[in-house]
């Protein structure tokens, strides 16, 4: 009795094995990637968070020190400067790069000749490393070598442009270089978006008597909402991780007036032997990213569903 029962069970399970394998196969295939992601991203995030609660200096240590490192961080003038700078740099860079990118994309979208060549020219800076951009702009903006000297040589001896060596203005030079490099890329994204819009919408609007600016402002740009979304995500992540640009262009100087959190984190963790403080600053950066991105992602993704 029992024997027959188990036999029928087995028979019933046999076709199920292949089914189950088919069901599990994708999961098995994805498992290694998943594991690597969990360990190397979330694991390290947690590890950094843990380090930020210790008194680690030269090498990681496990002596719990509570919120000491965060207190030190909040009391650190250089950290506050770097956070303020990130605010200035990040917002200005994102705003100008997106406005310029949209503008260029709209102009290029007018079916002009040689569009491919022009597009390549605009897009090309993105192919450069930020280190190259930084070094090149360092020369261009240096009063003794670049624009200021050129103007003086041309006879405009009153011309002054020394932002790079001015403590109050140095952070804006970062904006100039970053915008120069990234606005072409933003343009490419918007151009792709514009090409995806059905031209009959424009024609219909024109029939209704709408002018071109109104069509773009009221119809086309709202249609590009997902592109704006991507552009904000990409440029904000360029801004927050900015390290190479500032290293090459100003190295945080003069003094530490153009310091950014990423530079602060690197200096403290790896050259000054204050891993605990560096980890605390890294966690603060992460918190900043989450504070901006989570509400934005939430609102964008929720709308898409409805």
């Amino acid at each position: 009795m029992e024997h027959t029962l188990s036999l029928t069970k087995l028979k019933a399970a046999r076709p199920g094995l292949a089914d189950r394998l088919q069901k599990w196969l994708p999961k098995i295939v994805l498992a290694p990637t998943m594991l690597v992601t969990v360990v190397c991203i979330y694991g390290f995030m947690f590890w950094t968070f843990y380090l930020s609660l210790t008194n680690s200096r030269f090498l990681p240590s496990f002596n719990f020190a509570g919120l000491l490192q965060y207190e030190k961080l909040m009391d650190n003038d250089r950290w506050l400067t770097s956070v303020t700078n990130l605010g200035i740099f990040g917002l200005m860079f994102m705003f100008i790069a997106i406005v310029l990118g949209v503008g260029l994309a709209i102009l290029l979208d007018q079916n002009i000749r040689q569009e491919g060549a022009i597009r390549t020219i605009y897009l090309y800076p993105m192919a450069l490393s930020f280190i190259v951009t930084g070094t090149a702009w360092k020369w261009i903006l240096n009063p003794g070598l670049g624009i200021e000297k050129l103007m003086h040589d041309w006879g405009f001896t009153d011309f002054q442009f020394h932002w790079l060596v001015d403590q109050d203005m140095a952070v804006y030079t970062l904006v100039i270089a970053a915008v120069w490099q990234s606005s072409g890329f933003v343009m490419a994204m918007f151009l792709a978006g514009l090409r995806g819009i059905d031209s009959s919408i424009m024609k219909a609007a024109q029939m209704d008597g709408a002018s071109m600016p109104v069509i773009y402002w009221k119809i086309i740009l709202p249609c590009l909402r997902p592109v704006f979304f991507s552009a904000v995500i990409i440029t904000s992540h360029i801004a927050i991780k900015s390290f190479d640009l500032v290293t090459a262009l100003t190295a945080g100087g003069p003094g530490y007036s153009s310091d950014l959190p990423a530079l602060f984190m690197y200096a403290h963790s790896f050259t000054r032997g204050q891993i605990g403080l560096g980890a605390a600053s890294a966690i603060m950066m992460l918190a900043g990213v989450l504070a901006i991105l989570v509400p934005y992602l939430y609102s964008e993704l929720r709308e898409k569903k409805s």
Binding site: R57, F58, L59, K72, D75, N76, D77, R78, K138, N142, P143, G144, L145, H162, L164, V165, Q167, A170, T250, A251, G253, P254, G255, Y256, S257, A267, H268, F270, T271, R272, G273, Q274
Partner: protein, 406 residues
């Protein structure tokens, strides 16, 4: 037993040395060490990590040490030696030191840096004097100025040079160079004793005291004699400004001599090396050294001891320092082959070791820990680049920042 003895004879040990001497003169210096060790039958495994003034090398070293596979020796200097000692990675070299009479041939200030809890764990390679003023006599002549010996003369000369249309002081506006300049002023204004109190003992009274306020005020005055393009400039570019006659002076350690030598300039004739204003009998030292790690292979340990002995060998000290532009760390050297700047440096090194005027460089990590050094850097560089900064406030900030970093 016999087999073991024979095999250890046949396989001499191997030393692996982590360093970042990868540029011209430096690489040549490292090659000398390699040759001398190979002559003794040990094999040399080079472990050079270029770049970032040793930052990348330190990162590699940390990984290797934590994974239990440290090199025999690594280029570690100043307070970092104590840090590695605290972590329990370093081995003792006391037997080699005793045999070589290190306590007698090295100044006590230097051996203090090399010892962890009274045991030798590191070996010094060379001594750099940091409080040097490099001057272009041609520019001084054109401006009708004298090479200054104190701060008053410095500002008088600087005014004349500026009026003659030259840049008085070549400077690179990077935090460590600002700190080097600050340190030179501090040595003059504070004097050796208070200098030590401030940057070695971290005495809050001196750090925020009236003399420190005066140091900041004098330091701030110097900014008027630097050209506007200095921020971010590398030190060797600043040196080349002196070499080319665009600028009159630079305050920089004696590694700057390498730049003059490379440009084919002769000391005393094409350039002048003088102590920084007001510090003629004082000596701010910056010492390169190798720290020795605990190993778990007997043969390699023997080779490691050979390495330690060889570094302080007179022949090596001479050849190495001639290449590097620094002076030997031993007090009993024959200095015939060295140039005038090195001879002056050696004379002051010996004299100041007796009078207590031999002080560790704060800007180059010999005086204090890297965290305190970093805190001082931040205050100094921020002060120097802010034209409205208040010296009194800066001294307060300095004390506060140091306290937070301890």
């Amino acid at each position: 037993m016999t087999f073991a003895a024979v095999s250890s004879m046949a396989h001499a040990g191997e030393v692996e040395v982590l360093h970042w001497w990868t540029s011209g003169g430096e690489a040549k210096s490292a090659a000398v060490l390699k040759q001398m060790l190979e002559k003794q039958g040990d094999s040399w495994k080079d472990f050079a990590v270029a770049g970032g003034g040793g930052e990348s090398a330190m990162t590699v070293l940390k990984t290797r040490a934590v994974s239990g596979n440290p090199p025999s020796a690594a280029q570690i200097k100043g307070h970092d030696i104590q840090e590695w000692g605290d972590l329990g990675f370093l081995t003792t070299l006391d037997d080699v030191a005793k045999a070589g009479h290190w306590d007698d041939v090295l100044p006590a200030v230097v051996t203090k840096v090399m010892k962890y809890h009274g045991d030798y764990v590191a070996v010094p390679v060379n001594v750099h004097r940091v409080n040097w003023l490099w001057a272009n006599p041609e520019v001084f002549k054109k401006a009708g100025a004298q090479v200054p010996t104190n701060m008053k003369e410095f500002f008088a000369a600087a005014d004349k040079i500026k009026a003659a249309g030259f840049i008085p002081l070549a400077h690179g506006g990077q935090p460590w160079q600002d700190a080097t300049l600050f340190e030179a002023v501090a040595l003059d204004v504070l004097g050796s004793q208070d200098y030590n109190k401030a940057f070695v003992d971290l005495d809050m009274g001196v750090l925020s005291g009236p003399k420190m306020v005066e140091t900041f005020a004098t330091f701030q005055r110097m900014h008027n004699y630097i050209d506007d393009n200095s921020p971010g400039r590398d030190w060797n570019i600043a040196t080349s400004m002196v070499i080319n006659g665009d600028a009159a002076m630079q305050i920089m350690g004696d590694w700057a001599k390498g730049e003059f030598a490379a440009a084919g300039k002769k000391p005393g004739k094409d350039y002048i090396c003088a102590p920084t204003p007001g510090t003629a009998n004082q000596f701010t030292f910056n010492i390169d050294s190798f720290a020795f790690f605990k190993l778990n292979n007997k043969d390699n340990e023997v080779a490691q001891k050979h390495l330690a002995k060889t570094i302080l060998d007179k022949d090596f000290q001479e050849v190495f320092n001639l290449n590097k532009g620094s002076i030997p760390v031993r007090l009993d050297m024959n200095m015939d082959k060295f140039d005038q700047c090195a001879l002056d440096s050696m004379a002051t090194f010996k004299a100041s070791a007796k009078t207590g005027d031999l002080v560790p460089s704060m800007a180059h990590g010999l005086a204090t820990t890297s965290y305190v050094q970093g805190a001082i850097y931040d205050v100094v560089t921020n002060f120097f680049n802010d034209s409205d900064a208040d010296p009194k406030q800066a001294a307060q900030q300095l004390a506060k920042a140091v306290k937070a970093a301890i």
